[in-house]
């Protein structure tokens, strides 16, 4: 990685922190979700966890794709929530409230990622 993608501004740092948070989230989902699946439970957490891992890693690399993957996971979670519990408000709380807050942060990081991403081809060339 070159000096160009190294975080410089507050927005860069915040986006990196968010990316690391999403990676942690993804790791827990992959680990716990894999275990849950092995116990005969829902596959959602494992699948979502893989997408979150990819999302966080790409975001950490300054790739816009990472943010899009998170928003994809969020949209998928919305569909899954409706499938699992319909429009029961209490069912929505654990599934969507926290992820929606993170999704808002991801959307806020879009300008940062967009800037980082535009310089990416150059940096990639340097790698």
């Amino acid at each position: 990685m070159t000096a160009r993608t190294r975080p410089r501004r507050a927005g860069d740092w915040a986006t990196l922190a968010l990316a690391i948070f999403i990676v942690l989230f993804g790791l827990i989902f992959v680990g716990g979700g894999g275990y849950l699946l092995s116990l005969g439970g829902s596959a959602y957490y494992l699948i979502c966890g893989i997408v979150l891992l990819a999302s966080g890693l790409f975001m950490a690399m300054g790739r816009l794709l990472g943010a899009y993957l998170f928003l994809l996971a969020w949209a998928g979670t919305l569909v899954w929530t409706i499938a699992e519990c319909g429009f029961d408000w209490w069912g929505w709380l654990p599934r969507l409230f926290g992820p929606t807050l993170i999704a808002i942060l991801v959307v806020l990081s879009l300008p940062v990622l967009r800037r980082q991403d535009t310089v990416r081809p150059v940096s990639r060339g340097a790698v």
Binding site: L36, D88, G91, P94, G98, L101
Partner: protein, 733 residues
């Protein structure tokens, strides 16, 4: 995995500081998970090794709390003919019995308070009973008290059994009887649900002890005092007291106790008692006994494993050990000469292989005992061969059932922790034809030595007080991470619906849990409209049998073992189940990091059911998130999440339901037509008690003991809070 999960959950919790509610059930050890000890190994450790003191061993000091001599026995013919008791025909403005009347209806004909004016209700006075944990005393308090009201006075007991008479209009104490109950006599909970008002059949009016206040104490005494003065009634027992540990054999203080008002039926006062759950298979007996309400002399006993002997044991002998105990309030029936006894389980609640057929026939049942002989007239069982602690906590309510053809049957409404409500013919114990009971197949045991009943009874005509069986997708949390944790817990357990049996290899989910469905709050019934008010819990439990070795490692010992650690296990949590091959670990089905229940809300409901149409008129969550939250932090939110609840309701002719019970520490008035709150007030402590209502000088009052509850983790106080309309807002009626 767990630490990052906790960390992330904490971070998310910060993000989500909004809106999360929680079930307040206390921490205890987590379920240990898989256990690969074979049953053969478990048995090889042999029950004998864990044998406690011989049942004939002398009782520990303090068991006979007042060092009373043995009481003698009389025949039923020697019991003086009873005079009519005030609770058979209560005055409109009175509340002379625990459930107001001898039907235990919890219905008051008062109508000054209505949905229109109840919003103006204000505190009239607060009375302090003086009983709460002292310095250095572990909090074992939950007063659970309901005062009774006769004339211009309230009569009640404190959590530690002091009795008092209070001016019903001002809260001024008129007299107080100090019962002298010691801290070591508290079993699991210091509670006194109420006192009994008894009018003497031999002492003339105007003489001391014509009207008497009677209570059954934590330390197993029956005490009578003069209603006028609070002085002990010398003619009763020995100086006003009877020692009920007589004939019980080996015991220690706190093992056996009484917390409910004893009913008097045709001159016979009937007593039951709680035996601390989970201690040992050969715990003291659950014997039910009848005494002459006038003299305190023994009349009969119903001893489950010794059913033909209705006498007191000879010196050196004792009532049969480990039999089902009955701790809930009993209901008397003067007309049929019966007492309806809600029974619990044999000792060692979660392991049934060592129970006798006689015990299996009467556990977790309503047993109608003839008060002349002590002989059961009928038995109705609500859970066969119970290993879920589905003992009956509720007091049964008597009522007249009006059939479609115009005939009337004296009936009994039997709520259960299972959320099944049975409606029985009081004369026969058979379900009414309108409420048939069907035996349905139940899950088989996974413990080779402890088979389960192939079927269990269901009363499908009466609306079930529970949600459908839990699914993985019902798991909850404040974030997807703790939801995932609960989903893993769900999948790690064995769960095949209601009656999933406990075993050693895996935890089992128990739903409904042992807190109900319906627990001791019981139901309220309006005989004029035929509407039943029921509040209930949706709080699953997570249980697992553990080998003796593991139980020893967890430090689980019975209460009468010298190395007993009170913090290690109690009636509601882990238990040694000594004398059996297995101990038991029981926790709420919750995420023990956050203290939040694993199932989605609501955790507590209240509903109105029309007994004629069997339809639910309304059903709604009971209790807000204001005093609950993750890590026991109050959220302060008015979200109507529905909290776990303990305590019942009152229904009034004025069209109101008064109920506290929920862990939001509020009392509320609900419009019986709509099910909506029309008034509420924040109590100084938890309202885990049954409220009551009465009238003095033309003014209607509502009283609630805000005693709190240690197990429900609500603030404990010694305050009885009484409400009335302020004078200027008083409405004509």
């Amino acid at each position: 995995m767990r630490r990052p999960a906790l960390l992330t959950a904490t971070m998310l919790g910060g993000l989500l500081s909004a809106s999360v509610a929680l079930a307040q059930i206390p921490p205890s050890n987590s379920t240990p998970g898989e256990d690969h000890t074979s049953p053969a190994e478990a048995h090889s450790q042999g029950p004998g090794r864990f044998g406690g003191p011989a049942p004939s061993a002398p009782q520990a000091p303090g068991v006979n709390a007042a060092n009373l001599p043995d009481i003698s026995e009389i025949g039923i013919a020697d019991v003086p003919a009873a005079v009519p008791q005030i609770d058979s025909t209560p005055a409109r403005e009175d509340w002379p019995a625990y459930g107001r009347d001898s039907n235990q209806s919890r219905y008051s004909p008062l109508e000054q308070l209505t949905p229109d004016n109840v919003g103006k209700l204000k505190r009239a006075f607060v009375y302090h009973t003086g009983s709460k944990p002292g310095p250095g005393q572990a909090n074992k308090w939950a007063a659970e008290t309901t005062p009774i009201k006769v004339g211009n006075s309230l009569y009640m007991c404190s959590a530690m059994n002091d009795m008092m008479r209070i001016d019903a209009a001002t809260g001024k104490e008129i007299w107080r009887h100090d019962a002298g109950v010691k801290y070591h006599s508290i079993p699991y909970t210091a509670a006194c649900k109420g006192v009994t008002y008894y009018t003497s059949s031999t002492v003339p009016e105007g003489q001391p002890c014509h009207n008497r206040i009677m209570e059954a104490t934590l330390d197993m005494r029956l005490i009578q005092v003069d209603a006028e003065t609070g002085k002990l009634c010398e003619g009763f027992g020995f100086g006003g007291q009877v020692n009920l540990m007589q004939g019980m054999g080996e015991s220690v203080p706190g093992f056996v106790s009484m917390t409910t008002p004893p009913p008097v039926i045709n001159g016979v006062v009937v007593v039951n008692h709680e035996v601390l759950d989970g201690q040992r298979r050969w715990a003291p007996s659950g014997v039910i006994r009848g005494y002459d309400a006038e003299s305190g002399k023994f009349v009969w006993a119903w001893d489950v494993n010794n059913p033909d002997n209705h006498h007191q044991p000879e010196p050196g002998k004792f009532y049969s050990r480990g039999t089902p105990n009955s701790w809930a309030a009993m209901t008397g029936d003067n007309e049929l000469g019966l007492v309806y006894v809600p029974t619990g389980n044999s000792a060692a609640d979660y392991y049934s292989a060592m129970r006798t057929d006689k015990e299996n026939a009467v556990s977790s049942s309503i047993v109608a005992i003839d008060v002349k002989t002590g002989e059961p007239r009928w038995v109705f069982q609500t859970a066969h061969k119970d290993v879920w602690d589905y003992d009956i906590g509720s007091q049964a309510t008597k009522f007249d059932y009006h059939h479609a053809d115009g005939t009337v049957t004296p009936a009994l409404l039997v709520p259960t922790k299972r959320g099944q409500t049975f409606v029985l013919d009081r004369a026969t114990g058979k379900p009414l034809p309108e409420f048939p009971v069907v035996e349905k197949p139940a899950p088989a045991s996974t413990m080779a030595d402890d088979p389960r009943s192939p079927t269990q009874p269901w009363s499908d005509a009466f609306p079930r007080l529970a949600f459908p069986d839990l699914k993985e997708s019902d798991m909850w949390g404040m974030s997807p991470i703790d939801q995932l944790y609960c989903r893993i817990m769900y999948r790690k357990a064995r769960y095949v619906g209601e009656f999933t049996p406990p075993s050693t290899d895996k935890p089992n989910i128990e739903y409904p849990g042992y807190n109900g469905g319906s627990d001791w709050g019981s139901m309220a019934y309006d005989p004029e409209s035929g509407i039943v008010i029921a509040n209930w819990n949706s709080t699953p439990m997570y249980d697992q049998l553990i080998t003796r070795k593991k139980a020893d490692a967890l430090g689980l010992k019975p209460i009468d073992n010298p190395s007993y650690n009170p913090a290690g296990g109690g009636a509601e949590g882990n238990g040694a189940q000594a004398d059996t091959p297995y101990g038991i670990v029981v926790t709420p089905f919750w995420n023990h990091y956050t203290g939040m229940m694993c199932n989605k809300p609501p955790y507590g409901m209240i509903e109105a059911i029309d007994i004629k149409t069997k339809k639910v008129l309304w059903s709604r969550p009971l209790g807000t998130a204001r005093a609950n939250g993750p890590w026991n932090m109050p959220t302060g939110l008015p979200l109507n999440i529905g909290t776990p609840n303990n305590g019942g309701s009152v229904v009034t002719k004025g069209g109101l339901v008064f109920v506290a019970a929920a862990t939001d520490n509020q009392i509320r008035a609900i419009d019986i037509k709509t099910g909506k709150d029309v008034w509420s007030d924040v109590l100084p402590g938890g309202g885990q008690a049954n409220p009551m209502t009465y009238e003095v000088n033309g003014k209607q009052y509502v009283a609630i003991m805000a005693g709190g509850h240690h197990f429900m983790m609500t603030p404990v106080t010694d305050q009885l809070v009484v409400y009335a309309l302020p004078d200027e807002a008083d409405t004509k009626h």
